[in-house]
Structures are given as structure tokens and as C-alpha cells.
């Protein structure tokens, strides 16, 4: 969706506005991703609570876009329960626009370790691996140079394994 991009370009000129908006977006992102990941792993709130060593009502509180008192330790416990890594980074405001554009259930889902293809396939050749990793990072930007590189690699016959994230789909020219 791009309808709000024009609004945010103007509104983000105001420092207070952009920081409050980004805080809200962060709250919504975390709360929604917890729910999406829990549903992806077919867990009830009670089951997730048990895995994370919390009470079920606590999960209900965390799965609410109006919640804002996040702690890294709580998120670490959830990451461990989901068997995913927690990533906390400082980012530009422009990157928020593309995050908002791509905000969807699919974009929030993650393959936990047991489904993380990279760890459960034969080793990919180093060059292919590097291009795939770069393509994966740039996937949503559809970087044409990476797509060309990945396609060339695919045509060369180097083994490229299909990955659920879609990067390999770019590599194979699908």
C-alpha cells in the first residue's frame, strides 16, 4: 500500500510526530508478530506462556497493539520459546515506510530453527550462498542487479536450493 506514504513524508518533518508514530508502529509490529508467530506454530496463548515461563494473561497483554512497556528480556524469552533469534536495531525513518508498506501476516511469519532451511539442506556453494543471502536481504526491494546475478548463477548450473523465503525463487527466475 502506498496511500499513506505521501502523508508520512509530510508529517514526519515534525520530530515529535515521527517519533510518536514510530513508537506506535513498533508496538503494533511486536504485538502483531507475537500473535502471528504463535498462530504459525499452532500454539495457544497458554502453550506459549508455558514455553516462555509466563502466565497466560501476560501473553494476552503482550498481544495487544496498545501495550508499550516492552523489555528486551521479555522479548528474549519469547524468542527462545519460538526458537527464533531476537533482533533489535536502530533504523532510519525511511525504512519504516517500506516496513509499513509490507506489513502483513506473511511478512511477519518466520521459520523457526527446525524449519530454517539453511540449517537442514546440504551446504550451498559459497558464491551462491552469498548471492542468495544478499537477495534475501534485498528481496522486498526487488534489486535488479541481484536478480540478474542470481539468475546468472542459476543458469551456470550451480546448485541452488529452494527456500521458503522466496529468495531462491528470485535466483531461479521464477
Amino acid at each position: 500500500m502506498s496511500g499513506f506514504n505521501g502523508n508520512l513524508r509530510h508529517e514526519f518533518q515534525d520530530k515529535e510526530y515521527r517519533h510518536v508514530y514510530a513508537d506506535e508502529a513498533l508496538n503494533a509490529h511486536i504485538a502483531t508478530q507475537i500473535k502471528v508467530l504463535r498462530e504459525q506454530q499452532e500454539l495457544t496463548q497458554r502453550e506459549l506462556a508455558k514455553l516462555a515461563g509466563m502466565a497466560q494473561p501476560r501473553i494476552a497483554v503482550l498481544e495487544d497493539v496498545n501495550y508499550s512497556s516492552w523489555s528486551i528480556n521479555t522479548l528474549r524469552r519469547l524468542a527462545r520459546a519460538f526458537d527464533l533469534r531476537l533482533s533489535v536495531k536502530f533504523e532510519t525513518f525511511s525504512s519504516l515506510i517500506s516496513e509499513l508498506d509490507n506489513f502483513s501476516r506473511k511478512a511477519l511469519e518466520r521459520d523457526w530453527f527446525e524449519r530454517d532451511v539453511w540449517f537442514h539442506k546440504k551446504a550451498v556453494q559459497p558464491a551462491a550462498s552469498a548471492i542468495l543471502a544478499a537477495a534475501q536481504a534485498k528481496e522486498q526491494q526487488h534489486d535488479p542487479a541481484l536478480q540478474i546475478g542470481a539468475r546468472a548463477l542459476a543458469m551456470s548450473g550451480a546448485p541452488i536450493y529452494k527456500m521458503s523465503c522466496g529468495a531462491a525463487a528470485i535466483a531461479a527466475g521464477e
Partner: protein
């Protein structure tokens, strides 16, 4: 799929949602605009707690904005096309967890007015910017 967001219009064609949003302080207005952006992009079901169902008014939803004041925005799905639209009906402020008397009744009556005369009693959402 993006959803269309509409504002209720009164019988004079005025937009009470816009007037209510103009009364919000900047942080509350920012939070409101963000939540409306989420609603427009994904509907209310993806984000937990974005718009909660109301037991006392089955057609209405409530968006909560916490801050210096407890701003509450009441809305409905549709009510013309239930799969592609939301209509913002009424803004209110909670004091001590209490809404002004009749808030839900008024919001529901606005929904009924829109159902009777959709072309005149609502218009595209007007975003308030500062």
C-alpha cells in the same frame, strides 16, 4: 488489500470526526493516524487490540488511544460494503473508564443514518495533519 476509510457526516454535511480529531493533542492525533493507517492497510483482524468488538453494540468497534486523555474512536465495518470499508462514526473521551452517557447509542444511530442515506451521511476519511 487496502480498506476504504469513511467519516460520518451530519445532516448539515459537517464532519464531526474531523472536528474531534482537531481537538486531539499532537501525540494522541499521531497515534490515531497510525491506527487508522493500520486499519486501512490490513483491516482490524491482523493487529490484536487495534479495534475491539463491543459486547453492548455488536456492530461497533472501538479504537483506544492512550495518552494524556483517553480518546476513543467508535467505528463500524461497512456499513455498505462489509468486505472493503470501515466508517468512523464518533469520537469520545473516557473519564475514569466511563464514556459520556449515550455514546454507543449515538454511534449506532449514526450507523443507521448512513445505512439510510450512504451518499450524504458519510465521505472519505479526512486526515488531520499538524
Amino acid at each position: 488489500m487496502p480498506w476504504a476509510i469513511y467519516d460520518y457526516r451530519d445532516h448539515r454535511g459537517k464532519n464531526p470526526i474531523r472536528e474531534w480529531c482537531e481537538r486531539l493533542q499532537k501525540p494522541e492525533l499521531t497515534r490515531m493516524n497510525h491506527k487508522i493507517d493500520l486499519l486501512e492497510q490490513n483491516g482490524h483482524e491482523l493487529c490484536p487490540g487495534l479495534a475491539s468488538n463491543l459486547n453492548k453494540a455488536p456492530h461497533l468497534y472501538k479504537i483506544k488511544i492512550n495518552g494524556r486523555v483517553a480518546a476513543r474512536l467508535f467505528l463500524c465495518k461497512g456499513p455498505i460494503n462489509m468486505d472493503t470499508e470501515y466508517t468512523l462514526l464518533l469520537g469520545a473521551f473516557e473519564v475514569d473508564d466511563e464514556l459520556p452517557e449515550g455514546t454507543l447509542r449515538i454511534a449506532e444511530s449514526y450507523r443507521q443514518e448512513i445505512l439510510r442515506d450512504p451518499s450524504n451521511r458519510r465521505g472519505k476519511h479526512e486526515r488531520v495533519q499538524r
